[in-house]
């Protein structure tokens, strides 16, 4: 079982050029254990000297069987798996999942829950972009940015821990609302963060944006045209860096995004540097959204009153027979969903995170498919890498910001 597989050259012969078959070009294996592949990505590179002629990604080293495993659990219990898909955007995955379930069973969500969802998800977007900045900086030998980014990320994780008791895998968003209301300290913690963070973004920019080494490594590297981006299904900051104004938060507002005033940064160059600039600008826009959401945060319940889908609060169970029955039914059997399929998508830090969910009338999903943005974003890597040096490949992989858990599922 633990024997390493040998892949024969005949299997991949049709993917490399003539010169590789004759032995003039070198075939080089990069990964799955390589510090700059951001996980367990394996690339087979055909090199002409230092230049990449062909790049063949080999994925699946983190294939977890999440889709199949979710089919074996009820709708509530399957949610814990969604955190572990894209582990830099855990609450964003929760949002995609709970929105899909809510759409399938037609469940309402209170206003307050929607606003808190937006705050939590935007905080997570900042945390995810911080890891992009830290990891890309580290790959390009900028060690200090790594330390600064993790300092701010800890503040966000502390807020998430305050709400849910967990740093990363929160499962805080639930079908029909939230697990519980935010604690009283939440307001102060978020406002502290909002006060500090914009200045910190300026610090990052001072370190990198005009840094000649960084600009040399990023500018003009891995140019993605608009046409390529669309046919390869690329979404998110990469698509926006290639000049396409497409953000699901603006185009198809969900969870109350239409109330908030924010801009979608769009650049036209399409190179690694543009992708970096788009993400830096998204830091600022996310701060704007959180600020507005905090100011407008409505009161009221954070969970739907529809007891057929949402468990009653603990306090009711002791006094109400009906609440006890609902609680028992929901946690032993789960709630049924109609025999139909829906597709719902949210904008994750990496792009369109879609959930295709099909019910069969029972309490378990019949089929759930995750349309994960990193899968498509990695698919465009062979196009981006062509003609660049191996050292530039590191910058390109960093700039497309892939998460292997998101790709392999």
């Amino acid at each position: 079982m633990t024997e390493l597989q040998e892949v024969s050259f005949d299997d991949i012969k049709h993917l490399v050029s003539e010169r590789a078959i004759s032995g003039e070009n070198m075939l080089l294996n990069m990964g799955p254990q390589h510090p700059s592949t951001h996980g367990v990505l394996r690339l087979l590179l055909e090199l002409d000297g230092e230049t990449v002629v062909n790049c063949i990604p080999d994925i699946g080293y983190l294939h977890t069987g999440i889709e199949k495993n979710m089919e074996a659990k009820t709708y509530q219990k399957a949610e814990v798996m969604s955190d572990r898909l894209d582990y830099m955007n855990t609450t964003g995955n929760n949002l995609a999942y709970v929105m899909a379930v809510e759409k399938l069973v037609d469940l309402d969500v209170p206003e307050r829950a929607q606003a808190i969802r937006v705050i939590i998800v935007e905080l997570q977007r900042i945390a995810s972009h911080l890891i992009f900045l830290a990891a890309t900086g580290l790959d390009l030998a900028a060690q200090s940015i790594f330390l600064y980014c993790f300092r701010e990320r800890e503040m966000i994780l502390d807020i998430l821990e305050l709400c849910s008791g967990q740093r990363m895998m929160t499962t805080y968003l639930r079908p029909g609302g939230l697990w519980r209301d935010v604690p009283p300290e939440f307001d102060g913690a978020v406002r502290d963060f909002l006060k500090i963070f914009p200045k910190r973004v300026d610090e990052y920019e001072a370190l990198l944006t005009k840094n000649p080494i960084f600009v040399d490594r990023m500018a003009g590297i891995g140019i993605l045209t608009r046409e390529d981006a669309l046919t390869y299904g690329v979404t998110g900051p990469i698509l926006r860096a290639s000049g396409v104004d497409w953000d699901l938060r603006k185009a198809r507002p969900y969870s109350g995004y239409e109330q908030y005033d924010f801009d979608v940064p769009v650049l036209t160059k399409g190179d690694s540097y543009a992708r970096y600039l788009v993400r830096i600008e998204e830091f600022r826009q996310s701060v704007r959204i959180i600020q507005q959401a905090m100011d407008k945060l409505p009161g009221g319940p954070v969970r739907s009153e529809n007891r057929k889908f949402v468990p009653p609060p603990r306090s009711e169970i002791g006094v109400s027979m009906e609440a006890l029955i609902h609680h028992f039914k929901l946690w032993t059997e789960g709630f049924p969903a109609p025999k139909a399929s829906i597709y719902s998508a949210v904008e994750s830090p990496r792009g369109e995170l879609g959930v295709f969910l099909e019910g069969d009338g029972g309490p378990k999903p019949y089929r759930i498919h995750w349309r994960t943005p990193s899968f498509e974003n990695l698919g465009v890597l062979p196009v981006l890498a062509k003609g660049h040096f191996v050292a530039d490949l590191v910058a390109i992989i960093g700039s497309i910001d892939i998460v292997l858990g998101d790709i392999d599922r």
Partner: protein, 162 residues
Amino acid sequence: MGVEQKLGDMGIVTTTLEQVVNWSRTRAMWPMLFGLACCAIEMMAAQASNYDMSRFGMELMRASPRQSDLMIVAGRVSKKMGPVVRRLYDQMPEPQWAIAMGDCASCGGVFNNYAIFQGVDEVIPVDVYVAGCPPRPEALIHGVLTLYEKVGGEKLKDAVNR
């Protein structure tokens, strides 16, 4: 009344060879820069500013298995990755240790299915298991210190027999 007290001011310490070897192994243990999944992010956080694992002689993450002593298996090990993990472990020079970080690496965690090894101990021998999904950086540091204790108790004759 040992010799240490009589000669105390002269900067001489008497000890056993075993203790010196074990002490030197723990004070510069180089982990392999090798992350699999979610726990790798917490491993990075443990290395970064707030938790700073370099306080324990672990600041140098080596990307090459040939230069590392400790493998932190941070994340779930799939059926496709298992042989690679084993190959990397075999490439590490003796003495080598392994920490299974997180529930997935320890016992399969929430993923009990066709694609995931139910614990990385089916692939490589593990010294310390760290629980949590993912474990906090403090938990990882505690796991590392537990490993130090284990290394501190190792006998030279066991190493010969191994």
